[in-house]
Subunit: 383 residues, 2 copies
């Protein structure tokens, strides 16, 4: 990359899904308790499944959200990506195929690739993953005697990068498809609680009667990404095998205790309210700035989460735009990074180079406004 | 396992390499600084390579130990086992072969197995890994056109489980062998600083002129295992590829900052002195108790580390002994767990069932004495 903005010397980051540091809570008291009252536990090797109290809290948190997941069905992991990695180890062998949406979470792609996996891509519309089309593709695969995918990976709430939330009927259809073909679903759900408006749809896990859904949860978006505390909720016998695959033995008991103390005091609820208000306001600022500065970029306003997914006119290359934007002092991610396989080569209306992801999470409102202005300047320089 | 000791209701643990909780330092001040002064850094996503200050500290720590490892050649990982896992991802494909000692670290075995690796086992004597025999085996492999191993894994200081420290001439021979065949060495070195007496041998990394040694370090044994902070030191271009394979993105910046503050204040040096004195005393208590209670068990007294490796008369099965010991209220690990491949089937003087590992690290001195008494009771019950 070129050097950053000549005036500020530093690019405004609208690229990664950082948390807004302005709302990081004070965890010093929780850490103090973890390191005094619970010192022997916090500094010793942890249990492979995680702190029992934390697993109970997660179980209750999911129960309130409609999913019946007993504490024994919860495995604490070193962040949701670590959970995804363990699920790949559990379910796949080199050369296996997995289902992802096009586009999908761009960090999941290299994780899947590192296991030598191939991709069956599912399209999305405003209701989320197009389950009928996926069902047809799977039937066709079966007819051709091709092996079935080892799992279906999706982010059904405030999808990364598109911001789409899957409709209830699609959720029911996806869970039914999974059950009929016995293909597990990995429901990656970091943003679910960050809903700014509207009513939540039931989680896939809450609709799951076949124990085929593995829900990935994380405190990264609820509390702070630096803590590296996430979880996998799903069928116990599979989690037991995953626990044995954890190369770290037990995840860090210190950060687990800090999270547990924070949650047990009831501080998480207040904090999530604050996060919702903050990120909702960030979204509004970005939406207004885009409408004002960059009317050529089309987007659907997401009801929650971290991201806006922009669609540019067909003639635009967002690869070039992202480069120019960086030189103008704002970093953004061009669409290509989010497409795993065949979709990455698409031309015309679905060409990855038409799309661009903006994160409104990490930057302050004035930085969001300035970042969009810089992006618009870069865009105009291409006309 | 059966229920534990009928009198105490709880087994004394002489099995795992736990730290002695009695010397865990007070880290509350360090955590407070990490969560106030450094809050935005500690709670945000971390950098893939780790905190720059911590990488500098590790570089200096290794320089004082004779190894020239610039900070850029240090990758912070989520504990040394995470480093081992990443090295497997980097160097191996399913079906590849790696060199391990027989016996070897029992947690490394399932990590290697999870990658589908096979084992070429190297024998050990009082000077450590028998390099000449390994060289002959590798030449023979080459002659038979069999693929070379992808790396040589060893714990050259206070080997786990045998307690052996490799002699200088063996170290030089091993590094020369690695260079001549271009086979990387993974030097796993958690116990090196826990030397109770005698002079250290140079680390393999300090003898490495070909950038083929990857040194695994950890704060687990220097400070506290619960923090999950370790590192890999080695050739930069390989670490860059490993950093991209880290499924957690950046490791936890909070625990890294706590460790860095502790080290930067000079507290680590004092703490390691204390750990040395404590574990040295634990070792002495265990050695005296074994000589008194269990004269049939032969062992070499290690000059450091966490473990004693017992050899029993040939007629004994330590599998049975470990079971009886557990029922008598002490948990220990029978030798079989430490042998990766062909050696696991050995009969006669090298049969795994003659061996047993005791950890003197985690239990208090009175518990060590009582644990050895219970082990001796179980042993006598087999006569």
């Amino acid at each position: 990359m070129e050097p950053a903005h000549p005036e500020t010397g530093e690019a405004i980051s609208l690229d990664s899904g950082y948390a807004f540091a302005g709302i990081f809570p004070d965890l010093a008291r929780e850490a103090d308790r973890a390191l005094t009252k619970y010192r022997a536990e916090s500094l010793q090797y942890g249990r492979p499944f995680g702190l029992p109290g934390l697993r109970e809290w997660i179980s209750e948190h999911m129960r309130e959200d409609g999913a019946n997941v007993p504490p024994d069905d919860v495995l604490v992991v070193n962040g949701a990506k670590n959970g995804l990695d363990l699920l790949c180890r559990l379910f796949t062998e080199e050369g296996d195929c997995v289902v992802v949406t096009a586009p999908t979470y761009f960090t999941a792609i290299p994780i899947f690739r590192s296991f030598g996996l191939t991709f069956l891509e599912a399209s999305q519309d405003g209701e989320g993953l197009e389950v009928d089309a996926l069902a047809r593709a799977l039937v066709e695969r079966k007819r051709q005697d091709m092996p079935m995918p080892k799992f279906i990976y999706d982010i059904s709430d405030f999808h990364n990068p598109t911001g789409i939330t899957m409709s209830r009927r699609r959720r029911e259809a996806l869970v039914a498809l999974s059950a009929s073909l016995e293909i597990p679903i990995i429901e990656d759900s970091p943003y679910r609680k960050l809903r700014f408006e509207g009513e939540p749809e039931p989680s896939l896990k809450s609709l799951d009667e076949s124990e085929l859904v593995f829900a990935l949860g994380t405190f990264s978006k609820l509390l702070a990404p630096g803590l590296r505390v996430g979880w996998v909720a799903g069928k116990r016998s599979f989690l037991q095998r995953m626990a044995r695959l954890k190369s770290d033995g037990g995840s860090c008991p210190l950060t687990q205790r800090i999270v547990l103390e924070f949650c047990a005091e009831g501080r998480l609820r207040t904090h999530v309210e604050r996060a919702r208000a903050t990120y909702g306001a960030h979204r509004d600022v970005m939406v207004a700035a885009l409408r004002r500065e960059l009317p050529d970029a089309a987007f659907t306003v997401p009801q929650g989460g971290y991201y806006l997914w922009l669609t540019f006119p067909e003639r635009v290359s967002t690869e070039i735009l992202a480069e120019r934007a960086y030189r103008a002092g704002v970093s953004v991610i061009a669409g290509g990074a989010f497409f795993a396989a065949a979709s990455a080569q698409a031309q015309g209306p679905n060409a990855p180079a038409r799309f661009l992801r903006l994160a409104y999470s990490g930057a302050a409102p004035d930085q969001i406004e300035e970042g969009v202005r810089r992006l618009a300047t870069a865009y105009r320089s291409m006309q």
